[in-house]
């Protein structure tokens, strides 16, 4: 699995035909098994990039390729910024929805259950989303993306609304699932420490629409103690400085 974006541009147009060129001549590559974070100030176009890769938005110029083929809808597992669990479906029905939509995708109820067990939601299998806390809902939304069965997962600020402790737990199991299933993850976050801790590489999107590709030189597997390692702290400071001088 390789994802390549070549000279991609995208412009939003509103009813008054005003144009807002959000993505301009963007080049990036995500290789098989990579964990890549996408960071940048609010409004730089991170969510837009994810929507382009899902195929929900169509680029005006350039190419988006998975394994050399132009992407189409249904190629990736996508977890949007809001959890968007359907309120009338139970948790297990919510996480299995992709298997109802894609006929070639076979997921048994038992498999779905074992995943719920993995993330501590088995007791809520038949609960409605409204009965769950924010953290639980995020986990369910993640499983829904995971159970699309796609190799590439696009996660838009999955842990954005969580408290620090819950977030740490979620990061740990996200890494373990990623490694176990050999998934490729493109991950948007505002939390620089989180980006450093999770990723192999960090893509920093600037307001001037340029992109920095920054490697993270931390060994795998990652442990929470690594948060205090010099390498990580220095990198975090470095990123902070690079972003801080940008103004909207």
């Amino acid at each position: 699995m390789t994802l390549v974006l070549k000279n991609v541009s995208y412009t939003f147009r509103n009813e008054a035909n005003q144009k807002n060129k959000v993505i301009s001549d963007l080049n990036m590559e995500v290789r098989n098994g990579d964990f890549v974070s996408l960071i940048g100030k609010s409004g730089t176009g991170k969510s837009t990039i994810l929507k382009l890769i899902t195929g929900l938005l169509k680029q005006d110029e350039g190419e988006i390729l998975i394994n050399g083929k132009a992407i189409t809808l249904g190629d990736v597992g996508y977890m949007p910024q809001r959890d968007l669990l359907l309120p009338w479906r139970t948790i297990i029905e919510n996480i299995m929805i992709a298997s109802e939509i894609q006929k070639d995708l076979q997921i048994t109820k038992d498999e779905a259950r074992s995943w719920l067990d993995r993330v501590g939601l088995l007791a809520y299998e038949n609960a409605l989303p409204d009965q769950l806390s924010g953290g639980m809902r995020q986990r369910a939304a993640f499983l829904r993306a995971l159970l699309t069965g796609k190799d590439l997962l696009l996660l838009d600020e999955p842990f954005g609304a969580l408290d620090a402790l819950t977030k740490k737990d979620m990061q740990t199991w996200l890494l373990s699932i990623w490694q176990e299933l050999n998934k490729t993850i493109l991950f948007i976050t505002h939390d620089l420490e989180e980006a450093c801790f999770l990723s192999d590489r960090i893509l920093l999107l600037h307001l001037d629409k340029t992109l920095d590709d920054i490697p993270v030189n931390l060994s795998r597997p990652r442990h929470p103690e690594m948060l205090h390692e010099m390498e990580l702290i220095t990198l975090r400071h470095n990123l902070e400085k690079r972003i801080a001088h940008e103004t909207n």
């Binding site: 929900l56 809808l73 249904g74 809001r82 309120p87 929805i97 939509i101 409605l128």
Partner: protein, 255 residues
Amino acid sequence: MKQIKQWLQTYSLFLIFTLIIFILLEYLVRSELIPAFIIPAPTSVITSIIENWKPLFLEHLPATLLEFLIGFVIAVVGGVGLAVGMFFSKIVEKTLYPAVLISQMIPIIALSPIFVLWFGYTIWSKVAVTVLISFFPIVVGTYDGLKSSDKEYIELLRSMGATRMSIFKKLNIPMAMPSFFSGLKLAIVYALVGATIGEWLGASEGLGYYSRRMSGNLNSEGVFAAITILTLLGILMFALISLIEKRVLKWKYTD
């Protein structure tokens, strides 16, 4: 048991209020402060219902019920069909939505003699009034409900490769349910009104016909007997739809 308690909690004030009004009316009529042909005493209305139960319940109620049911079913099937058509086709929407709106501006009572002209004194002239009057809330409720699906939810399903049909089934329909049921509750009450109006204009049976005949005889107990049965029927129908709604929209009513 718990349900009964909850029910009493919700409605006890209203029941007490109704009771007071009834007692007051009873007193005003009996003490001849109000003449009985203006407003009958509640007890004489009840007596009238009991005395005339045979024609009321075996002849007139079934007649009204049949007109009402046929009209309501046609309105639901046609209304939902039209709403779905407008949802899927801009052309259908642009052509027919204004027509649906305008149909509501028509003073139906004024139009009804036309129905008698078309359908004669058959059941269909009443059914036509019933359909015309209850169609609107169903179309609007269903159509607005179908359109209410959040763009983000649609995008989520599209990202999984969902077709328009599976988005319709998995998202649009469930999303439309609350609004559809609001329309349905209005429509079922309107439908009963429609059947009654239809009977006023020309009929030989039905509760509307009965109340009009009684008013011709200056028999106010008889008028109110029919009105009471119609009102109770309306409440019953409304409650029935609410019950189905609670079942279907369980997810909305659990907390």
